[in-house]
């Protein structure tokens, strides 16, 4: 299987959160993301920093959910990929 590009991994993580009713614990998110825990940590911090996801505490549980910017990324993902491909900007 070909190595996933960075943008594709971000899209996959955000999709997992979205399909889980926009509320998922970090451990199942790591498992479903299909990447190593060190890489997951990098992506997770990156997504938090870019404000694509946010952490909420619900009954002592830490839950991850998408922000408006996260939804916007998913909405524009195909446009971004098509643009990169059209202008040969490489990913």
């Amino acid at each position: 299987m070909a190595k996933r590009a960075k943008l594709e991994i971000i899209k996959d993580i955000l999709e997992i959160v979205k399909t889980n009713h926009n509320s998922i614990k970090p451990t199942p998110l790591l498992r479903k993301s299909n990447i190593s825990s060190s890489r997951f940590k990098e992506y997770f911090n990156d997504l938090m920093r870019k404000q694509f996801i946010e952490e909420k505490i619900h009954k002592k549980d830490k839950l991850i959910s998408l922000t408006e910017k996260g939804y916007k990324f998913l909405e524009k993902y195909k446009t971004i990929i098509n643009f990169i491909d059209e202008f040969e900007l490489q990913d």
Binding site: L7, N82, F83, E86, F87, L89, Q90, D91
Partner: protein
């Protein structure tokens, strides 16, 4: 004999007429600059959201290329404005001479730096993954050297050599990169035309009257290339 002379007279008249038609006035210069600057800024701002969401380096350098094109064309139209207003051939001829030389040198330097960086950013946007991240600093240094050489060595032959070497390097690098990627679209034709017309535009500023008889055609073709890129950008970003 009379017929022959009349034919030659008509031909001469037509030639002169066509020559005049091909030399644009200052109004056409302003319109041309406006089209290119507007296209460049629309590309820059039209891709803002895609970059903010993706933080993609290729998109970043692509946007910067067009921002630098806008800066370069702005300084180009400024040079043209000065040349027309003072009725001189080159910008350093402004009176008083000493002031003109300093003013002209700075303006040409800025124009050359932005011009070279615009082309380098565009090339870097397609090559950034293959090249080291520090390559862009080398390009800044190269652009500064080119701008310095342009203002120090005031010889048309040097201008021609510098810009033809740049054109050859950029086109060859881009061609090799494309050959490896095996992609098939019209982008390579548009980019190579952009490189060619960009070089012609630089030479048009540096060497007065070099392309005067075909200036209008150059302006139309250059505008067409920028409009084609803008169309592709708007189509892909979904902007209306």
């Amino acid at each position: 004999m009379a017929m022959h002379l009349a034919g030659r007279a008509i031909q001469g008249g037509l030639g002169k007429g066509l020559g005049k038609l091909a030399v644009p006035g200052f109004g056409a210069e302003i319109l041309y600059s406006f089209i290119i600057i507007a296209c460049s800024l629309m590309i820059y701002f039209g891709t803002k959201e895609l970059y903010e969401l993706s933080s993609h380096k290729g998109i970043k350098y692509f946007r910067l290329a067009f921002l630098f094109f806008a800066f370069a064309y702005f300084s180009r139209s400024f040079i043209k404005f000065i040349i027309t207003s003072f009725d001189i051939k080159i910008i350093s001829d402004i009176s008083p001479r000493a002031l003109g030389a300093v003013f002209g040198t700075i303006t040409i330097f800025i124009f050359m730096y932005f011009s070279a960086m615009a082309i380098f950013y565009l090339l870097y946007s397609v090559m950034w993954k293959k090249w080291k991240s520090k390559t862009i600093y080398n390009f800044h240094a190269l652009a500064l050297i080119m701008a310095s050489a342009t203002v120090i060595l005031r010889t048309p032959l040097i201008y021609l050599a510098i810009n033809l070497i740049l054109l050859f390097f950029v086109t060859l690098t881009y061609y090799i990169s494309r050959k490896q990627s095996h992609k098939k679209n019209s982008l390579h034709i548009i980019y190579i035309l952009l490189f060619i017309f960009w070089t012609i535009n630089i030479l048009d500023i540096l060497i007065p009257n070099f392309f005067q008889s075909v200036q209008l055609f150059i302006y139309l073709a250059s505008s067409g290339v920028f409009l084609a890129i803008l169309y592709k950008v708007l189509k892909k970003t979904g902007s209306n």
